[in-house]
């Protein structure tokens, strides 16, 4: 039986809801994003104090990764260096960039902090997920004008063709002001499942579950 690249699990989160593999899970979005993320964290029932140091973008990515990886099925199946983390978004780390900017633009109130500055890079989300899950393989972060399934499929197809990973946590993790938009998924080589393709990703992204 031949294998193909499949989307073995996926999480969809936006201002309208939160779904794991198409089923609603945890609490649906309420009000302000920071409070919502805290609520989700406590519902996950994990003990991970580093969560409170993360900025909202990394908290968002962390929650998505927990839903996908909490059962350890991927990290038990593959060596840590064979699992990648490749994400993308539109706003990069602008949410924290704006907050950091506020701490430096007024000479009367100048207080740049390393704890904030470290999050002015979108790729930190890969680092946070790598640390919490012990993932040591491919790392990359792409920025696109909008959710770009073609670009994601192209990148991941090439990555798996190098044989440098056997699985990859991937997807779109976007946060800009109060809008959040996530389609995070796991890619593995399997004989059955949702094929990793532009059409399938687009369908998962636009589906009303």
């Amino acid at each position: 039986m031949s294998t193909q690249l499949t989307i073995s699990k996926f999480v969809r989160m936006n201002n309208a809801g939160l779904w794991l593999n198409g089923e609603p899970v945890l609490t649906q979005p309420t009000g302000e994003i920071k409070a919502y993320l805290q609520q989700l964290y406590s519902q996950l029932g994990v003990q991970y104090p580093k969560f409170y140091k993360m900025d909202s973008l990394c908290q968002l990515a962390y929650i998505g990764a927990q839903l996908l990886l909490k059962d350890d099925s991927i990290t038990n199946l593959y060596a840590s260096s064979e699992i990648g983390a490749v994400f993308a978004n539109k706003a990069s780390s602008l949410d924290t960039d704006r907050r950091f900017h506020e701490t430096i633009c007024d000479s009367e109130a100048y207080f740049p902090s390393p704890a904030v500055f470290v999050y002015t890079l979108p790729s930190i989300m890969s680092g946070e997920i790598a640390i919490s899950e012990g993932i040591k393989g491919e790392n990359n972060f792409l920025v696109a004008a909008e959710f770009n399934p073609h670009q994601q499929v192209e990148y991941l197809t090439n990555l798996f063709a190098t044989k440098q990973v056997q699985a990859c946590v991937a997807g779109w993790v976007e946060l800009d002001f109060e809008n959040f938009d996530v389609l995070m998924y796991i890619v593995e080589e399997q004989t059955t499942g949702i094929q990793l393709s532009t059409i399938e990703l687009k369908q998962l992204y636009t589906a009303k579950f």
Binding site: K90, F100, G134, Q164
Partner: protein, 379 residues
């Protein structure tokens, strides 16, 4: 079918010049682009950094374009790309030519109100800036924007290599760099990561890094050329988001994967172009990684003393300088290195070394615990 991938042309725009040749000449002469400078902004930070002088930048840009409606970041990218593209003869408008932009912060100076009154605010978003740059060269493909901290530049080459190797494109134009302004300078300063003087990679008295503007462009192609990109890979330490893992194990994963990807072994490597930021932790970690892989006797250098840390540009600029090393058989000295200051006996080049160089290993590591490695050399 897999294609071999070659480096057709390249260009560097930095305080050391607006061509690769000028940059390499100055590097070999031991000239640094770093100087004490005041960063404009609320705090008027004084830093030792490599800043491209505005006058020459605007003049050079004016020579190639009468349209001033581009930000500083965009002008530096366009200027860097222009010569590489026109020299290579690659058709940037072709659907078989991809554009990759590698940057950590792009147009971050647009966070300041009224910084560019005639430029749409949308260009604060990295993909929008990249699209403006790609459109300048008549590219209709969506540019690939890589923003992965300090490994962005290496990953731009790795990603571009894969896009040609696996047949999606015939050519890839990859450009990377970052403007240095108050946002970046104050951030690194808050980490106490900056040195007040030109940095000293691998040196006993190293105290930190300098920031620098250096925009490198490579034109990758399936058309044979004298330099070939053999392979590359990335990894994560999975240890800490703002400091490298002490044992270098994450970087070792990236280097080993790059070796496998390239079909080369440690014995094939003639020279290592290290990340060498001159922070206490990075240089020690790199030394451990290189030594434990059996690379301690290979000449290694860091170019950060000439350019500073050019963030999104580092992997590209330093690879380009290293391809000049391959062509001319001359390995530049590690400017700032005097007394060995890492715990492993790696062979840091302290004076220009004339040595036939066929295969180079380039390494990079960054915030978030990411690492990347690239192997390239004579085709």
């Amino acid at each position: 079918m897999q294609h071999r991938v070659y480096l057709q042309y390249d260009n560097i725009v930095s305080p050391l010049g607006f061509t690769t040749a000028d940059n390499f000449t100055h590097v070999l002469a031991g000239k640094s682009g770093l100087a004490t400078t005041t960063i404009a902004g609320a705090q008027a930070l004084q830093v030792c950094a490599g800043i491209v002088a505005n006058g020459p930048l605007q003049n050079a840009f004016h020579h190639i374009s009468s349209n001033p409606a581009y930000t500083r970041f965009e002008k530096l990218c366009i200027l860097s790309m222009h010569q590489a593209i026109s020299n290579s003869g690659v058709d940037s408008a072709s659907p078989r030519t991809a554009v990759i932009i590698s940057t950590t912060k792009g147009n971050i100076d647009m966070l300041y109100p009224n910084s560019y009154p005639s430029i749409p605010a949308e260009r604060l978003y990295l993909a929008s800036a990249a699209q403006a740059i790609a459109k300048y060269f008549s590219s209709n493909n969506q540019p690939v924007v890589i923003s992965n901290a300090c490994i962005s530049g290496v990953m731009a080459i790795v990603t571009g290599m894969r896009m040609i190797k696996f047949g999606q494109y015939d050519h890839v134009i990859a450009c990377g760099g970052d403007i240095i302004n108050e946002f970046t300078a104050s951030g690194f300063q808050s980490f106490k990561a900056l040195s007040d003087e030109p940095s000293k990679p691998f040196d006993k008295d190293r105290t930190g890094l300098n920031l620098g503007e250096a925009f490198g462009t490579v034109v990758l192609s399936k058309t044979p050329a004298d330099i070939e990109i053999f392979g590359g890979a990335a990894s994560n330490d999975a240890n800490h988001i703002s400091g490298p893992s002490r044992d270098g194990s994450g970087l070792k994963i990236a280097i080993n994967k790059a070796l496998t990807d390239s079909g080369k072994s440690v014995m094939d490597i003639d020279f290592v172009s290290a990340h060498g930021t001159a922070t206490p932790y990075n240089d020690e970690m790199e030394a451990i990684a290189l030594d434990s892989l059996g690379l301690a006797e290979k000449p290694v250098n860091s170019l950060k003393g000439y350019f500073g840390h050019s963030l999104g540009g580092a992997g590209l600029v330093e690879t380009i300088i290293s391809t000049q090393t391959i062509r001319q058989g001359k390995i530049p000295a590690t400017l700032g290195y005097h007394k060995h200051g890492v715990s492993r006996p790696i062979s840091v080049v302290r004076e220009t070394l004339s040595k036939p160089t066929n295969h180079v290993l380039k390494t990079a590591s960054g915030f978030g615990g990411c690492n990347a490695a690239l192997i390239f050399g004579k085709a």
